[in-house]
Every structure is written in C-alpha cells, then in structure tokens.
Amino acid sequence: MILSHFNAALLFSIFASTVFGITQRDTPRDQFRYGLYCFSMFMGGLIVAGWVMWVLRH
C-alpha cells in the first residue's frame, strides 16, 4: 500500500486525535471538542510545515 504524504498525515491525524480526545478529557462533549482541536492542530501544522518547506526550497 502506498499512500501520498498528505493522506498518510491525514489518517495519522484522525487516529491520534481520536485517542487523544477519548483519553485526555472526561465528558463526551469535551472529548469530541478536544479531539477536534487536536485534529485541527495536526492539519494546521501540516499545512504550515508544507508551506515552510516550499519557501525554503524556492
């Protein structure tokens, strides 16, 4: 199986955020919100890192 860099990072973010959300908060609402926060941080970091690498290369 060969995934693109983006798809690999996207799947990683989904699974890691799910576990972080469930284990780091108590109530279902907080768990969902924290999971969503972690996911957005992962994806935001990914996009920022991508642009930084693009700038360094050009």
């Binding site: 199986m1 060969i2 995934l3 860099h5 690999a8 799947l11 890691a16 799910t18 576990v19």
Partner: protein, 140 residues
C-alpha cells in the same frame, strides 16, 4: 480520637485500598487487546473507538511495509522503536508470530508505516493508563 479514626479511614480508602482486581485486569487486557480495557468496564463507545483507531493504525503500518522492531540492545533509536511497537501488545505478538514486518525502506511511505506502528503502540500505552484511571475511579 475521632480525628485519628477519620484519618485512618482516609488512608484505608486511599489508592492502595482502591487496587481492586479490575485495576489490574483492565490495564493488562487493554495492553493485550487495544480498547478491551474500556470494553470490560462497559465504556462501549470509547472502547470501540480506541480499538478501531489503534488496530487500524497498526494494520495500515504493516500494509505500508513498515518495519517491526525486534528486542535489541543496540542503537538507542532501535530500542525506543521496540518499546513503541511493544505497546501494541497482542498486535505485536501476532505480528512477530506470523513473522511479518520485515519492511525495507524502499519509499517514503514505508517509513511512515514504521512510524504508524510505533505510534499505535504509544497510543495504546495512553489507552492502558486511561483504562487504569477508570478502574480506580479517577475518571468516569
């Protein structure tokens, strides 16, 4: 006098007294089968989500031809890789028993596969701790 009795009762109901059989069984089962520590405590949704996330992540790592670390006393990163993989418990045991995970890094996603499996194990360690906290009543 009453104060002393109350203090003794407080000590008796402390962390040591709370070490029920569930506080041993849940983390052990959670390590062996990701998510099972929550399922045995009737946290069905959480257990299934944890199980799905960790198991799928580990299998994706294998499918991406990631490498499974063997017990070793060599390079520090190899030792840490083994500790991460070992966190997956039963998944690691089955993978070793079937002699899978000999991936050679031929493309970037193979290396992602190796990292997927390590992170799946590390996430399972967090899941084990969470199952323990539920068992001792520290978390609902």
């Amino acid at each position: 006098m009453a104060d002393q009795v109350a203090r003794k009762q407080a000590i008796a109901t402390g962390p040591v007294a709370q070490a029920t059989h569930m506080s041993v069984l849940a983390p052990a089962l959670a390590w062996l089968i990701p998510g099972a520590g929550h399922l045995i405590q009737k946290r069905w949704v959480r257990g299934l989500l944890l199980m799905g996330s960790i198991v799928i992540m580990f299998i994706l790592g294998l499918l991406m031809q990631g490498r499974v670390y063997r017990p070793n006393g060599g390079d520090v990163l190899d030792i840490l890789g083994f500790i991460g993989d070992f966190g997956s418990g039963g998944l690691y045991i089955v993978t070793r028993a079937l002699d899978l995970g000999h991936g050679i890094v031929a493309h970037a996603t193979a290396d992602y596969g190796t990292k997927y499996m390590i992170v799946a194990g590390l996430l399972n360690f967090i899941s084990v701790a969470d199952a323990y906290h539920i068992a001792i009543g520290k978390k609902s």
